[in-house]
Symmetry: C2
Subunit: 347 residues, 2 copies
């Protein structure tokens, strides 16, 4: 298990909740647009917001974001260590640097000194597209080695509040690199597949890369990188966490693909129940199953469920058969059960 690192009010690592990150893509110096985007990210459920900071002018504007928002903000710094130092000084909760491109050991030391003085966390972040030694597509070993070298350098100056990321646009490489890192250090890991494409392609690549690591207990905070509105990154991240039961505060619908054995319109039932439960923010598992093969099993294993039979259907609650109903009543009966279940649970 990773060690704990605090980022403002958030506790990362040590088996705590996996947090969701995103990054603004509005001009950082445009206070109105960027404030609005930060607000939308928070509303969508983002836990940590990162901003690219490239100029002193942008640093000055960032002071106001730090003053105006409670959410931990992270400065993304490339190349110029002086910007990292200033971002630490003005109160960013974390700075993300790649020690390999920040100007040499002296520059890393200056960033570390500032972060020590200002209690700023450092993310050592290495990407396949920008390895310091110019190895492009250099594979998992090169990525991991580069990140561990960066960590070592930050350690050397007596700093321990570190989060590590190794990202690649290739899913397999990203998985392997993170496994190496997880086996060699115990800092919290920030997971992401980088440059993963648009919302469709990027969500899929991220789900495989991030999801498979999380299933093995690797990873403490995640970012889904998508070419598009960053709010979609937060929604995708949340859906990944839900898919693997790391976020249970919603209505999970377990439903079969149907086959010739299913004699009712299961697809519509799933659609209606999904719509009906879209605002549920507590654990609820509903199984909507077509037939007697896996139906009763899955329905019993859920909080509530229905399994189709020849002409009828059987309703389940908390593992027990409730009653046999007509197939035309499946949706209405399930809605009643859900309403009752939630009101009992919340009373």
């Amino acid at each position: 298990m990773s060690k704990i690192v605090k980022v403002k009010n958030l506790v990362l690592g040590g088996g705590n909740r996996v947090t969701i990150q995103s990054m603004t893509n509005t001009p950082t110096a445009d206070e109105q647009k960027t404030s609005e985007q930060i607000r939308r990210l928070i509303e969508a459920g983002c836990d940590i917001v990162r901003l690219a900071v490239c100029t002193n002018e942008e640093v000055d504007v960032c002071k106001r974001y730090i003053a105006n928002f409670d959410i931990p903000l992270v400065a993304d710094i490339q190349f110029d260590h002086r910007l990292a130092v200033r971002c630490s000084e003005i109160g960013f909760s974390k700075v993300r640097i790649n020690p390999g491109n920040i100007g040499g050991e002296d520059c890393v030391k200056r960033v570390v000194d500032a972060c020590k003085a200002n209690r700023t966390v450092i993310r050592v972040g290495v990407n396949g597209g920008s390895l310091e030694n110019g190895i492009i597509g250099g594979g998992a070993d090169a990525l991991a080695e580069s990140a561990l070298k960066g960590v070592e350098l930050v350690n050397k100056y007596g700093f321990d509040d570190i989060i590590v990321s190794v990202k690649s646009s290739e899913v397999k490489t990203m998985i392997q690199a993170n496994r190496i890192i997880a086996s060699k250090c115990d800092y919290p890991l920030h997971l992401g597949v980088t440059e993963s494409g648009d919302v469709c392609d990027g969500t899929l690549k991220s789900a495989i890369g991030i999801g498979s690591l999380l299933c093995d207990g690797i990873g403490d905070t995640i970012r889904v990188s998508l070419s598009g509105d960053p709010v979609s990154e937060v929604l995708a991240a949340r859906n990944i966490l839900r898919s693997i039961s790391l976020d249970k505060n919603y209505c999970e619908i377990v439903s079969c693909p149907t086959c010739s054995r299913c004699s009712y319109d299961l697809e519509s039932a799933v659609r209606e129940i999904k719509q009906f439960t879209k605002d549920v923010a507590q654990p609820l598992k509903v199984a909507i199953m077509g037939c007697v093969v896996n139906g009763p099993g899955e329905a019993k294993n859920a909080d509530l469920g229905v399994a189709g039979g020849k002409d009828k259907a059987v309703l389940f609650a908390k593992g027990e058969v409730i009653k046999t109903i007509n197939q035309s009543d499946i949706v209405s009966e399930l809605k009643n059960l859900i309403t009752k279940f939630l009101s009992e649970k919340n009373s």
Copy 2:
């Protein structure tokens, strides 16, 4: 690596191409609807089609599907071993049974004898919702144990043309169960997350479960189970294979999530290039990147690429800088490069 098992004209296992499966959800006895669905599945790129067979009447209609389609067809049999025997006799390429629910050892023997005589492959398929011992949500160990027991039984009667599946509606359980199976036998594995929900939820769960196993070299044939049109299962399966480079015959777009550093409309460029390349059926990797941080690296690593700069952008081909262009020309210049690249490659 798994051993090779032939399913009609397809070679499964042994590191061969990962094949895509789906299952009809029209009434098996309805020849017109089911034939139409099989045709649509083939058109979408499905390699193997499964049908639920529950009655003798359905077996008779299946003779015509077997006669009319070249694609390997699989009979999904539950409970009644006589149907499995008949399906083998009429020429199904594979029968899927759960030896734990088919009526006892004698019944398994009869199915095996028929499959031996007719050279039918057997899939030993176990699902979390229907474990023979009634353990529901019984975890990875119970699932794997149940499948291995089934395999052992089929082996006992001298049969070796086996494909194994262990499915669960819980992603982690499915991953762990398959890892156990892969460590204990070398039969080709059929991967799937079962009862995974609608197209959105189900694709994500399947991507994580199937994708992470494939990334570790586990799995030979896959089915994405979705509550909906089975054609969407084939498209989702293909996208999963593409995400992890197991299908490279398309245009992969590597593109960044953009941040404050990006000064052109990258999202639109990605959309236009994706549309422009949607019919490309050979390996092509195009990087569309916002800035100089990871831009040049990813662009060099792709066949073709563009990396945004302050006001301009730099075009790359085969790892080399081609020229500097105006940002307003990014899409048209990329289209020209793509057309040229493909015509040179295909000439």
